[in-house]
Amino acid sequence: MRIEARDLVVNYPGAPRPALDGVSMSASAGCLYAVLGPNGSGKSTLMRALLGVAPLSAGAALLDGRTSAAWDRRALAQAVGVVAQSESIAFPLSVRQMVGMGRYPHLGPLESEGDADRAAVSSALEACDVSALAHRDVTMLSGGEFQRVRIARALAQEPQALVLDEPTSSLDIRHQMGILELLRRSADSGLTVVLVTHGLDLAARYADRMLLLAGGHVAAEGTPDEVMTEDTISSVYGWPVAITSDPESGAPRVTPRRPPPRAEP
């Protein structure tokens, strides 16, 4: 699936400036597309605009060439799996039940799970390495397990695209890497993956393309090498950085600089 934004403008009522102002991007099938930027730069708004949730003042959000607002809710949920930033569980629920909810858009109102649904759920559990947790209560999981279960639910939708909002924030190295490996595999298998993240270094290693937002504008767009230059990153984040090369992959790596020691008067 091709996910595109054309000159998007989003104005929230009462806000002093547009949350997004003329943002364009395009991610195609098989692409892992990272959306980066400082806090409040419009990353989550872009995600919501792409999904037809944020009200557009101008421009267009297109999914396979059709504006996302024109998509039928259920058809959209069959095509795009979303992992939103946060989720609070109101009642105890097993991991299997939670991942099974990914089949919701594929079932009629009174229909129950068939063989195809069960197969989709078990391969999603497998892909996210949570099969062993199937009977656990989701409210008892660790942060990393919970995120993997939420991604498994999105995969159980058997979508053509995944959109994730900071799925690795607050996770340790092992769980971060596990999730990024999973997303890379998903992209390699033909899904379009749009990942909103704060992790510049890991995004540089895993993403095919990246979009760097600053104050609702596009600061840079392109391959990690094109986007992650010292000038761009320093000015967008308002802090001097050095860009070096990751020893394993050669991808650009950011090192924030300490200010030079103050000279004695």
Binding site: L51, V53, R73, R74, L76, A77, Q78, V80, V82, A84, E87, S88, I89, A90, F91, P92, L93, S94, Q97, M98, M101, G102, Y104, P105, L107, P109, L110, T139, M140, Q157
Partner: protein, 328 residues
């Protein structure tokens, strides 16, 4: 315990309590006599007791109890709040205001329909006000605003009731207080048909919402991304559940704890899948209220049914609360 087992147990328990409810009262009747009467024979005095007094009363208990538990389970799922109960949207306050007004005006003795109609109208007024407030803030309905406006409007009605009672004679106050504790004593075929005509189709409609209701447990935003029509489900579900409560309150007064305790107990036994939780809550609530009513009328003077449901419901609820707190 699995779902099929609990379902079987509840159907058996409900059938037994219906039979007990019909058999016992001021004149005990044997099972054989009851069956004979239901088949069209039997002694004419007993026939009158069973068909015109006990059966409508028991059936009203089944419908109101089942309806309250179903409505409570729905409110809990939609508001994502385990403490939600059928009267949470100010329905009890509205219904009480309607009932108390009619009692204070002395219309109750003149027409048997004045009280239920006034209670129903009061409940509808409360529902209308609460929804109006909750949807006035924007396009989407915020359940937190809904809860708050329910609390505020209930307080306003409580003040109105206190004012009316403060200027009324003691006799009126007593009638009003007894009404507010709930009773199935006024049951007749008319109220059974009225309650059933609304509650049973509404129950089917809520059962059809079970799958989207399940999604609400993981949050409105995620439910929306999974393809659920969140606003539609919230509005339809809340209105249907509120009207079930209004129908119940108009024929039986305010009966607490059924709508809170029954869905929680079922949820603790078989989990929170609404496809099973909703029908089993109906069965559980029906059984609980039928038995509570039986206990209420066994003594020398009839005890308000709300007293029985609270006496039984509060300890059960505390035990469950303790259990769920210690297990986490």
């Amino acid at each position: 315990m699995n779902r099929t087992m609990l379902g079987t147990v509840l159907i058996a328990a409900l059938s037994t309590s219906i039979m007990l409810g019909v058999r016992f009262g001021s004149v005990p009747i044997s099972t054989a006599d009851v069956l004979a009467i239901l088949a069209g024979g039997g002694d004419s005095v007993l026939r009158d007791i069973v068909l015109n007094l006990r059966l409508p009363r028991v059936l009203l208990g089944v419908i109101v109890g089942g309806g309250l538990a179903l409505s409570g389970a729905t409110f809990q799922a939609l508001l994502r709040n385990p403490l939600a109960e059928p009267y949470i949207l100010g329905i009890s306050g509205g219904a009480s205001l309607g009932a108390v007004s009619v009692i204070a005006l002395g219309w109750v003795s003149q027409t048997s329909w004045a009280l239920p109609l006034a209670a129903f109208a009061g409940a509808l007024l409360a529902i209308g006000l609460v929804f109006r407030v909750a949807t006035s803030t924007g396009r989407a309905m915020d359940v937190r605003v809904l809860l708050l406006s329910g609390v505020v409007i209930a307080s306003f009605f409580a003040a109105c009731i206190a004012f009316i009672l403060s200027i009324s004679p003691a006799r009126t106050v007593q009638t009003a207080v007894l009404w507010s504790m709930g009773s199935l004593a006024g049951a007749g075929w008319g109220s059974v048909i009225l309650a059933a005509a609304y509650t049973l189709p509404a129950a089917v409609a809520l059962a059809a919402l079970a799958r989207p209701l399940n999604l609400m447990a993981i949050g409105e935003e995620t439910a929306y991304y999974l393809g659920a029509n969140v606003e539609g489900v919230k509005r339809t579900g809340l209105v249907i559940a509120a009207l079930i409560t209004a129908a119940g309150v108009s024929v039986a007064g305010i009966i607490g704890f059924v709508g809170l305790v029954v869905p929680h107990t079922i949820r603790l036994l078989i989990g929170s899948d609404n496809r099973v939780l909703l029908p089993l809550s109906f069965l559980g609530g029906a059984t609980f209220l039928t038995l509570a009513d039986l206990v209420a009328r066994l003594g020398p003077t009839e005890i308000p049914i709300g007293v029985i449901t609270a006496f039984v419901g509060v300890p059960i609820f505390l035990v469950l609360l303790r259990r769920s707190l210690t297990s986490t």
